[in-house]
């Protein structure tokens, strides 16, 4: 256990970064979970789910963001800076993927070991317990975990699968398969995302992306990898921008238009460390409310924010607009143990510069950064 003198030393190390943070962040909150999480999933504008990924029993927690962060006009009169656990439950295995079904109190998880899905009731006001309500079998072929995407529909449906050949759309209440992606390739998926009510993007680790429509059984539009250095990670921005970004483990970033995936609108070389990565290590995400901005974690020990606005078709070096170094600076691990790495991060759906990030030491940060260009 840390004695108090040790705490004072770490305080000194923090001083530099913390003093700088007075100007570089509008808000900053640093939390320590009992167990690290690989997922942060919004379940409402104020709540997120996190969950453990150890090999045995794990907790799933629904946390309410600190009131002080959310209170806009009355911010100064609110002293509440803490996360509150509003609901909690137990999973028999690791939770590697968790998707909230919009409009419900239901969530779907996958343990990263098989393609089976577990269904959960996140609980209402009368209870604080998250209960498992059932499961959906995946394809028996796979020994890998599934990606999951929820469709905005009633009754609720989920798109899921471990690889491009086994993506299916399942109705939750009946377990009925409504659609299957007709693709032969057995490439593992890095992500699944709905870009409209019926069209979705299935992105493979080798860089291939498929754009498909669940209403038709016609083969999907396929776009080959934009370069070398797999694995690749992908994100698609919401309408009206319709941008798709693909990022390789060497830091190559390629932005395309959703309607013309084969072509590249612009490219850049990001400022990252080139080390071998596992597919689950990296997260790339478009900012929901900042046109052209996207974030990357898992390639450098920091969360980096880039602005692709000035990028051109010829690749150039890009520098991050902002970097969040909080996790490595305030790491709880002592010297000699593995360095801390960021497991995931998400943007707040509405607040333009608010993000949440989680790391392997169990830390979770909530931060609202100041655009350096406005200073």
């Amino acid at each position: 256990m840390m004695g108090e003198t040790e705490a004072v030393e770490i305080d000194d190390i923090l001083d530099d970064w913390f003093i700088e943070s007075l100007k570089s962040y509008k808000d900053l909150h640093v939390y320590q979970l009992e167990h690290p999480t690989q997922i942060i999933e919004w379940t409402s504008g104020k709540t997120v789910c996190v969950a453990g990924y150890s090999s045995g029993k794990n907790e799933i927690l629904e946390l309410c963001l600190p009131l002080k962060l959310l209170a806009d006009e009355k911010k100064s009169l609110c002293a509440e800076r803490d996360f509150k656990v509003v609901h909690g439950g137990f999973s028999e295995g690791p939770v590697c993927c968790l998707t909230h079904i919009p409009g419900t109190r239901c969530a779907v998880t996958n343990d990263g070991l098989t393609s089976d899905l577990q269904l959960w009731d996140l609980g209402a006001d009368d209870t604080d317990v998250i209960r498992k309500t059932g499961s959906l079998p995946g394809t028996s072929v796979s020994q890998a975990g599934s990606r999951i995407a929820a469709r905005l529909s009633s009754p609720p449906q989920v798109l899921h699968g471990p690889q491009s050949s086994s993506v299916q759309l399942t109705q939750l209440s009946t377990g009925q398969t409504l659609y299957r992606l007709e693709v032969d390739s057995t490439e593992p998926l890095s992500s699944l995302k709905f870009v409209s009510e019926t069209t979705f993007l299935a992105s493979c680790c080798d860089g291939t992306v498929y754009l498909a429509d669940t209403r038709t059984s016609a083969p999907p539009q396929a776009s080959p990898p934009p370069g070398e250095c797999a694995p690749w990670w992908t994100d698609a921005s919401a309408a009206p921008q319709c941008r798709v970004i693909r990022l390789s483990s060497s830091g190559q970033a390629v932005v395309s238009d959703l309607r013309n995936l084969g072509g590249a609108l612009c490219r850049a070389q990001l400022d990252v460390q080139t080390l071998p990565r596992k597919p689950e290590d990296v997260t790339v995400a478009w900012a929901p409310a900042l046109d052209g901005c996207f974030s990357v974690s898992g390639l450098s020990g920091l969360v980096q924010i880039y602005d692709s606005a000035g990028w051109r078709a010829e690749p150039q070096d890009a520098s991050p607009l902002f970097q969040h170094a909080g996790h490595s600076v305030s790491s709880q691990h002592g010297d000699g143990s593995a360095p801390v790495f960021i497991t995931t991060h998400v943007w707040h759906p509405e607040r333009p510069r608010t993000l949440l990030s989680a790391a392997s030491d169990g830390s979770v940060h909530v931060w609202d950064w100041v655009d350096p260009q406005t200073n």
Binding site: M1, M2, R81, F83, K84, G89, D128, V129
Partner: protein
């Protein structure tokens, strides 16, 4: 079965007015006696009628223990001791004893003088109540009486907050309100490690909280102060005499040094004297940082922090001032506030909770126009910031405490039922967990161990009788006398020690038997019969005309009335009662032909 009973009178499945009754080993203890700040009538007090319906509090309770000075833990104490009536001992730590009366008096003033309530305790009642208080030192065992023992440990929650260990014989209960990780890292925390109380009682309120780091709170504070100073504004920080003020001063001093800031920081002198005085008393309760400052130099010899004079409030330019009292309800902090409130460049930072009715409470509720004495109104244009620095427990702290202590049973209080289910489920993976409501009694069966020793003589005698050695699967019954000073001895030794004469108890029984043979033949037939039936027993046919089965004596004589009948006389000692009864039933059935 021995059991410990716990009944919350307040804070069972709700929040506020903590008051828990514990019955352990025949002793009755009240843990905390708080006020519910949300009610204005009798519901604010715990329901003492649970006890008083059966008698007086003084007769029922062996003692009252108060965990810390927050009003939801001690606010009802003067009401209980002076208005309901309790004259027994009240235990609390020294800092709690010093701070409680101040908070109780402040609260009383606001409730009675400002809100005009009656049926509330008076200043004299607070004083009389505090006279019944016996202060506790940390880690010091206090014998409340011959059997009840209590000990206080550092809880790290607020100044003076303690965890309490209660012991009667080999049964024990640990009560803690809130414990943070520093308490568990504190040098005195080793006691909790595997202390295995029968019950660990803890609040669940903070178990669902995941705390923002201390450094982020400090960052926010520094950011606000810095922004105000940079635009030429003044910062007022109203503080209570102890705790936060000193830590915030050290923080500002370090920051000023680092950023090379020139604006003055002042600390009002009344605060200085009181604080110095309290710190000398409570030095063991403060954390390392403050202790270092205090020991190395007089804490108010800061480079950038000077003593305040009230004329400085009118000086132009930026400055920071720490002043009492904390809720802006009177005194210097209120005077400064009145001067600075009209300027929107200024800021007031409230570092703590404010009681309803105070100006602090009003501005924290967003009120921008205040009615002052003489019907004048004050426009509040300055920025109002509420910052919390309290070192409460959180989810991790509580689980850490439970795993360290390894209680046989866990009991959660001070939380709503619907919000305790997950925590209860989490704890139940490793320990039993109860969540009683107010007035609901939880009876926990304990298994107190009673160590017993055996005298060597008795052991030797048993071994001499031969037979198999006792083993866990085949226990061996033996006779002895237990003297309640933990020794199992032989009867002779017991009688000797107690100075008693030995009395032997013998039973005699007559059995009629139809048998035409001679007395000695009948005896022989009895002998043969018993030998075939009772193969495991020692049966002897003695020359004096008796048959002995173990120590049971059987004699035969002819019946006086009937020539063909025999009368068997059986005689046995108390120890062989079972066998004796068996034999008499057996022989009543008659002998085989």
């Amino acid at each position: 079965m021995p059991e410990i009973k716990v009944t919350p009178l307040g804070a069972g499945q709700d929040v506020g007015r903590s008051c828990i009754l514990v019955s352990i080993g025949g002793k009755n203890i009240m843990l905390d006696c708080g006020m519910h700040m949300g009610y204005n009538d009798d519901r604010r007090f715990p329901d003492f009628s649970y006890i008083t319906q059966n008698g007086r509090l003084t007769d029922f309770l062996d003692c009252v223990i108060i965990s810390h000075f927050h009003l939801d833990h001690c606010g009802a104490l003067p009401y209980m001791s002076e208005m309901v009536g309790y004259d027994g001992p009240i235990y609390m730590t020294h800092p709690t004893k010093a701070i409680c009366p101040i908070l109780l008096e402040d609260f009383r003033k606001i409730t009675v003088d400002k809100k005009g309530e009656t049926n509330f305790f008076t200043s004299q009642m607070i004083k009389d109540c505090m006279k019944k208080v016996i202060p506790l030192n940390l880690h010091q065992t206090v014998q409340v009486d011959d059997e009840l023992e209590i000990k206080a440990y550092y809880a790290g929650h607020v100044l003076g907050a303690a965890m309490v260990h209660i012991k009667v014989g080999s049964e024990s209960v640990v009560y803690t309100v809130s414990v943070n990780k520093f308490a568990l890292c504190h040098s005195g925390a080793a006691w909790i490690d595997k202390c295995r109380p029968d019950i660990l009682i803890s609040e669940s309120t903070y178990a669902t909280t995941i705390r923002d780091s201390k450094r982020c709170r400090e960052r926010d504070f520094l950011k606000k102060v810095h922004e105000t100073i940079e635009r030429g504004g003044k910062v007022l920080i109203p503080v209570f005499a102890l705790g936060r003020a000193q830590e915030l001063c050290i923080l500002l001093e370090t920051f000023w040094e680092r950023m090379n800031l020139k604006a003055p920081i002042y600390f009002s002198t009344g605060l200085t004297e009181k604080a110095n005085h309290y710190y000398k008393l409570f030095i063991t309760w403060t954390n390392q940082k403050i202790r270092k400052t205090f020991v190395q130099r007089n804490m108010f010899e800061f480079k950038h922090i000077k003593a305040f004079d009230r004329s400085y409030a009118d000086n132009p330019g930026p400055m920071v001032v720490f002043a009492t009292p904390g809720m802006l309800h009177a005194g210097q902090s209120l005077q400064i506030f009145k001067k600075w409130a009209g300027n929107d460049k200024n800021m007031v930072i409230m570092p703590g909770y404010c009681v309803q009715g105070t100006i602090g409470h009003k501005i924290l509720n967003g009120q921008r126009k205040l009615e002052m004495e003489g019907r004048s109104t004050l426009d509040v244009k300055l920025q109002v910031e509420y910052m919390s620095f309290s070192a409460h427990a959180d989810a991790k702290g509580i689980m850490q405490l439970i795993r360290m202590a390894e209680p046989r049973n866990m009991l959660l209080v001070h939380g709503e039922a619907a919000k305790m289910e997950f925590l209860k489920g989490k704890i139940e993976q490793e320990f039993n967990c109860y969540t009683p409501a107010n007035g609901e009694t939880v009876a926990v069966t304990t298994n107190p161990s009673v160590p017993v020793d055996i005298s060597l003589n008795l052991l030797k005698r048993e071994m001499a009788l031969g037979g198999p050695l006792p083993d866990p699967k085949k226990p061996r019954t033996m006779h002895g006398t237990l003297i309640m000073k933990e020794n199992l001895v032989s009867s002779e030794q017991a009688l000797k020690e107690l100075g008693l004469n030995e009395h032997q108890l013998r039973f005699t029984c007559r059995v009629q038997l139809q048998d035409p043979h001679s007395d000695s033949d009948t005896l022989h037939r009895i002998y043969t019969h018993l030998k075939s039936v009772l193969k495991d027993y020692t049966i002897q046919h003695l020359p004096d005309g008796t048959v002995m089965v173990e120590s049971i004596v059987i004699k035969v004589s002819s019946s006086a009335e009937d020539a063909n009948a025999k009368v068997l006389l059986l005689s046995w000692s108390y120890q062989d009662e079972d066998l004796g009864s068996y034999l008499s039933s057996l022989l009543k059935k008659g002998l085989p032909t």
